[in-house]
Symmetry: C2
Subunit: 231 residues, 2 copies
């Protein structure tokens, strides 16, 4: 029961983390890009085309990039796992000393270090598990996560990016689009930052302000620099 609960908790954290990663950038970067272009071009269609190109580029880079990074992490874990199995086989005394070193860092007495090392050494699977976690600080990655994670991140990026961009569909001129885009995106960033902080156990108002601040700074900087180039 305890294990099942832990597992659920972890799964939902993973998904929340994916949505947070995708949406944080999805709300911020297309918003700032559109704001930047609004200061430099005269037609909404260019802002929309650039915004959609950015959303596609960003969601693929984050989603597919994240998927392949997850695959790489699994390969890395498996190659370290194989190496640890080799080491407990070939240099067991050195590996037992590493157990003692880990325990010594926590002030465990010499006698207990030896006893724990002796017991761990009787079961090679547990021994290797211990080394992976406590010597290498590697947690076992979940293979099925990589694909789901990629889809969650990409989808959240698209969903986030369409919020600032939507304002340009319903306005005539980029300057009007920018005003409406800024209002709805600032609100969206605040709400998103609030819930993001809630689910990660942080002070919610401070988190909401922080998220909004990053988006506003990025948009203002892009607008300012793009107007300089465009003029």
């Amino acid at each position: 029961m305890h294990d099942i609960h832990e597992e659920e908790h972890f799964q939902s954290s993973d998904m929340v983390r994916d949505i947070v990663i995708g949406m944080a950038d999805g709300l911020t970067v297309p918003f700032a890009l559109a704001a930047g272009l609004s200061g430099a071009v005269d037609t909404n269609s260019i802002v929309i085309t650039a915004g959609i190109a950015e959303i596609i580029a960003g969601s693929i880079a984050m989603g597919l990039g994240g998927y392949l990074a997850g695959k790489t992490e699994i390969d890395h874990y498996n190659s370290e796992l194989k190496r640890e199995y080799d080491e407990v086989e070939k240099v067991p005394e050195r590996e037992k000393q590493e157990i003692r070193d880990v325990l010594a860092d926590y002030g465990i007495s010499k006698k207990l270090q030896d006893d724990v090392a002796d017991e761990l050494a009787q079961d090679k699977d547990k021994w290797v598990d211990f080394m992976m976690r406590f010597e290498l600080s590697l947690d076992k990655p979940k293979p099925e996560r990589a694909r789901k994670s990629a889809a969650n991140i990409a989808f959240s990026y698209v969903a986030g990016g369409l919020i600032p961009l939507s304002a340009y569909f319903f306005t005539e001129h980029p300057k009007d689009g920018l005003i409406i885009s800024s209002v709805i995106t600032i609100i969206a960033l605040f709400i998103f930052g609030f819930f993001k902080s809630k689910v990660t156990g942080q002070p919610a108002i401070a988190g909401a302000l922080r998220t909004t601040f990053v988006g506003a700074i990025a948009a203002a900087a892009a607008y300012y620099i793009a107007s300089l180039i465009g003029s």
Copy 2:
């Protein structure tokens, strides 16, 4: 000596990780955005303006966003640390049981679980350290990292993004810019992916192909969709 070496190793990994994070996206997203716009607009100046707006937006979102995320991580660590200190003070028996549970997962005998728990409980700092690492899997964040990390990521994003964009400075038409941009960016992605894999201990050619693949897919998708909208 051992500690100093470990520390150096970790520091350099952090910096390499920052550069990898910033440059992977910096090469990919501005490349794909510029490619997308090349399929939809007729003048290089729009591609360049949009590209620069994207580079500014992306580098601020990643850099400043990463900086604030690092700050949040430190807050999170400190609040969990405080909670663990409270718990070993107020519910020491429950916390000692948690030590035994951790050890039981590794097949350590009941007697040794008790002995280790008793020894750990004699030094509250070590005890809390043990719980942070083995119960909560939290490593102590380095406060000075957050700022450096933000600067590294932002700078790498800008450096990466200027590579694909540079082609549009020296060509007359977006179609020509796109061809040159694709050639230099594909080469840059391959070289970057190769070194990224080397420093992270992965098969280098496979990693280079993977990185190049993500960039090419993102650019092709952005180009295709933007031409549909732009036409």
